[in-house]
């Protein structure tokens, strides 16, 4: 069975610059950062390759890194310009009984990430949730609609760090 370092060098060999770095200095298990537009290719390799066989996507979650520049407009409302939105993939190989975490970061102004629904079917609703909460666009997703918020919610993506609630939604007052 391969260690995370070995998987990283294998991916690096196969995909070159699309595999950016291996982070092992965090107090969580080591994870690797990959290119957002090639994550589907990398994932399908991780699923199909002998001795990797990550057949299960345990979780897919969006994160607002809030690492951009904080801008105040004339009304005093704070928003974040630049920086990244991330997607984390927690994979498991049920056959080899091992886990792997990969991360991809997309530009906040144009957060586009390739979909992995073709690799793991269960990614469908996870990606819809990440889209609903963070506005991350999953390219080639079969059905990218909001999943939790109302379909006609036009006030942005609620889990972004600079999200502001509207005063009214369909005539109902929103703040307490």
């Amino acid at each position: 069975m391969k260690t995370t370092e070995e998987i990283f060098s294998l991916l690096k060999e196969k995909f070159g610059d699309a595999v950016i770095e291996l982070k092992a200095d965090k107090p969580v298990e080591p994870f690797m950062i990959v290119d957002p537009l090639l994550v589907d290719k990398i994932c399908s390799f991780l699923r199909d390759e002998n001795d990797l066989e990550f057949d299960s996507l345990m979780n897919l979650s969006g994160v607002d890194d809030a690492n951009g520049e904080k801008v105040r407009d004339e009304k005093g409302l704070e928003s974040i310009k630049g920086g990244t939105l991330s997607v984390y993939y927690h994979l498991e190989s049920t056959k080899l009984k091992r886990k792997l975490v990969i991360k991809t970061a997309a530009n906040r102004e144009k957060p586009e990430v390739a979909t992995v629904t073709d690799v793991w079917k269960c990614a469908d609703w996870h990606e819809r949730e990440a889209y609903d909460m963070y506005g991350i666009i999953f390219l080639n997703h079969p059905d990218l609609r909001r999943i939790l918020m109302p379909y006609d919610w036009e006030f942005g993506y609620p889990l972004r760090k600079d999200y502001k609630n509207p005063e009214f939604y369909q005539g109902m007052k929103v703040p307490y």
Partner: protein, 163 residues
């Protein structure tokens, strides 16, 4: 309050005020909409079950709002659900009553500040007769709420406007 003013031993005639008779009939068979939203609904179902036995007050869940007298808002009212609750309420025939059960439907509960998806009190979309506090309220509390609603109905008048 006695419902019957007088009873004749022969002839099977009873005399009562129409108001009292109607109110008594209404409060004794409050059929509720078979509808639950969140964890409060579990307590509501427990209240309906044999241990607390909602049926002894004449409360039976009905599968349609058109056959119901009372709607128990048992749980967190999200904006998405608020639109549907309003529609359910409008489909109920008059006279209709609303019990708001639990902190969430009373005022937003734990979602009052950061709940971007929660309506801060169901009384923002439909009028509420009785608020039952608790998170979630125990079945005894819901029964108390129902008794309060019955008290309210008992004092209703068909001529005078109620509060």
């Amino acid at each position: 309050m006695g419902l019957l003013d007088q009873e004749f031993t022969e002839g099977n005639i009873v005399i009562a005020k129409t108001e009292d008779l109607f109110n008594w009939a209404r409060l004794s068979s409050l059929w509720q909409v078979g509808f639950g939203l969140a964890c409060c609904a579990i307590e509501m179902m427990a209240t309906s079950a044999s241990h607390y036995d909602f049926d002894r007050f004449g409360v039976i869940p009905r599968p349609s709002p058109r056959q119901s007298d009372v709607i128990i808002i048992s749980g967190t009212v999200t904006f998405k659900m608020a639109i549907r609750i309003k529609r359910l309420y409008e489909q109920m025939p008059d006279p209709k009553y609303v019990i708001s059960m639990g902190s969430c439907s009373n005022c937003g509960g734990p979602y009052w500040e950061h709940g971007y998806h929660v309506l801060k009190g169901v009384d923002r979309v439909i009028p509420v007769d009785v608020y039952v506090p608790g998170c979630p309220p125990r079945p005894e509390a819901l029964l108390e709420g129902l008794l309060k609603l019955q008290e309210k109905i008992r004092n209703e008048s068909i001529v005078k406007k109620s509060a």
